[in-house]
Symmetry: C2
Subunit: 427 residues, 2 copies
């Protein structure tokens, strides 16, 4: 058998601990797959005294000290788009070490540049764990769905959001209450902004788009919306229309550029993405002539994520290096975003209005001004004088048209809350 | 760039034609991914004069003559578990050529032996296209879901059967009629035995089990049942109980060995496998601590299958060779099948009986003799004296117990057709 592959790990949280425990437990079986032993030669984390449930062998004081060891592979599990994670990955690649990372923020921001650095030295920079946890979607886009090209990816990429939306649907409770429960159960962070605001989904989507379209990952031009404004009423209306609300990351090739968006969307009940429940992740990839492929599984947690990290390490052990994003990093093209607001779809609209004469005429008038036409409408009666909800499904139109119409409508003194718009995503 | 990878193709049917057309169309993009050009240096098929929609360049008269060319990779798309396909693959490997094949029958029968031959010479023997068409499930099991081991795979692996069952459900028409339509539409072969009898699913399942469990592919011990006995009535009752009937290939690790079966099963409505419609394929892989992963996509057709063949070729071009079944072929262990009939589950049972006094008592009595207990029952009244259907769902029991009880029941003169038993598969 070949000489062992030496591994150094920075960051010993949930994922790092999972990697170490799984490598110890799977020692011989993994060596059989890797064609050589996998040997952890160094590790580090912020706090040496924290109880972690495994022995801290080969501890070093600082992530950058890992580059000074004889490790072949540096596993970066620190997180953060700059700072120590970026410094470590840059120094590791510069020093001729392969890198495995779960850091979506880092790669969404610096992925193309780091890929060039890696490929100049024939090094691996692998990141299966950065997107959708244990689902091998990075490998599938990089190595499998390559013949006809991928023209669209749609994903449920944040387990926290999907858990919250699923719970809101099951219990009828509002976002804030369900979020608090999720925090108590460990399904949401103390500061949930990155998850519920859509930022985490945006990072992951940028990587999927890069793999799918051969573009340098790009997030600055991405329209990103979270789930905090979704109400139990929206979810109930969605069900009435035969839909479920999911936070989707969507990246599509269009004649006008790449349309990349993160937003809650109405997904037809009974289609695969609509049926993804709880903390699961899923990706639908449209591989043109080869058809659509759907992948679902656990997107977070120690074991699913460790599974992805270790698969990357075994790839490196076997010499399966290859370009970081599937094509040479120097061939990645800059992403041309579609003009803002140009994406078109049907929309779900909800207005909270005073129950006074003329309100519907006013709303309908403003929609007509922007050529937004209505396919169906529900208005539920309440006691006279109380606020009521008017809900509509539009025919296909652009985000810009709806956005403009809603701006005018929101200014009306009969409309007592910001209108809600949710695009309908076809399967 | 490196020197081109030279490819010879045997078999120019749907898949072979798809491979050639896609390689011509994707020339530059594929070279970018492969790190070198892909060049078709020879091809052959049974009939040179058939119209195929592409130029027959570099034609040779006989599959074995391909080994005489300077091809690096032989693509075997002839089919059949022995004969010319086996001869070609053996000779290609012996002569030091990599092999890519879509031939599930060949590998289910000779896979372990051919893998040893390939690995002795550091050659690739790749077969993504042999299972579930364009779904990258072979790669996922071989390279991704490897950390915690896979303890069970369940798959809808035959698009013809799934199409027929979906059509039977949609139209209420019997198996024979729907099969005839499927034949006219090209969804079923003139001789449909291998598809509707479960044999094709068995070949694919044997390969998935080998990849999942590190066992040499084995089909002789597999219990295989097709779908010809399923009636529209069974499908309607399934729906009433909240299930759909799917032909599944199931391979599970148990304390008593590997349970490998092909059979129609009741799958809970709303779970991913139950929602797979038409000619699609899908696989659910239970990766132990990492959780379950679900993959769905097109399992047949020129483009999805060509997509899998070309992904294998690009892997070879990049030097991603690795062991054929994920672990070294010499380490594959012989599969120990579970004792026949020992698998346990709940069952759906349907009896066609004469509507005479005592018939239910007789059936219930025989079931009780074999300790099969009933969870629920439906009996629909018809005109007195006519045949009626009695349908039951049992509590969990073994295939052997139910089989024995049904044998006794079938012998009764009040039972006018062979009883039908369909296991209930939990998600």
């Amino acid at each position: 058998m070949n000489k062992p592959l030496k591994i150094a790990i920075a960051g010993l949280g949930t994922v790092g601990g999972g990697v170490i425990k799984a490598m110890q437990a799977g020692d011989n079986a993994l060596a059989d797959r890797a064609g050589r032993r996998l040997e952890i030669v160094a590790m580090c984390a912020r706090d040496k005294n924290k109880k972690r449930g495994f022995d801290l062998k080969n501890w070093v004081g600082d992530p950058r000290a890992l580059v000074g060891t004889d490790a072949d592979v540096i596993v970066e599990l620190i997180g953060g788009e700059d700072g120590p994670a970026l410094a470590l990955v840059q120094e590791a690649l510069t020093a001729g070490r392969h890198v495995v990372t779960a850091n979506k923020a880092l790669l969404a921001r610096h992925g193309a540049k780091l890929a060039i650095l890696a490929e100049e030295k024939n090094l691996a920079l692998k990141f299966e764990a950065a997107v959708a946890g244990g689902i091998p979607i990075v490998k599938a886009l990089r190595e499998s769905l390559i013949t006809y090209g991928v023209v669209a990816v749609r994903g449920i990429l944040n387990g926290t959001c999907n858990y919250i939306l699923t719970q809101m649907e099951a219990t009828g409770r509002p976002f804030g209450d369900v979020l608090q429960d999720a925090q108590k159960l460990g399904y949401a962070e103390a500061d949930p902004t990155l998850d519920v605001g859509g930022g985490d989904t945006a990072h992951k989507l940028a990587l999927l788009a890069g793999l799918a379209f051969g573009t340098a990952p790009e997030i600055d031009s991405m329209a990103v919306q979270g789930i905090a404004h979704i109400t139990p009423e929206d979810i109930a209306f969605a069900r009435e229309f035969g839909y479920r609300i999911k936070l989707l990351g969507i990246a599509k090739k269009t004649p006008y550029g790449i349309d990349q968006r993160v937003q809650p969307a109405m997904v037809s009940a009974g289609t695969p993405l609509a049926d993804v429940n709880g903390a699961f992740n899923a990706v639908m990839a449209d591989a043109d002539a080869a058809g659509s492929f759907f992948f679902e599984g656990r997107g977070a947690g120690d074991a699913p994520t460790a599974s992805a990290v270790i698969a990357d390490i075994v790839d490196i052990a076997r010499g399966n290096i290859g370009p970081v994003f599937g094509i040479p990093a120097r061939s990645l093209i800059s992403l041309t975003p579609t003009p803002s607001g140009s994406a078109s779809s049907a929309f779900y609209l909800r207005f909270q209005v005073l129950d006074v004469p003329g309100v519907l005429a006013e709303i309908a008038g403003h929609l007509a001004e922007w050529r937004v036409s209505i396919e169906s409408m529900i208005q539920r009666g309440r006691a006279p004088g109380e606020a009521v909800s008017i809900v509509m499904i539009t025919h296909e139109t652009t985000h810009a048209s709806v956005g403009n119409a809603l701006k005018t409508i929101a200014a009306s003194d009969k409309v007592i809350a910001p209108p809600c718009m949710i695009p309908m995503e076809a399967r």
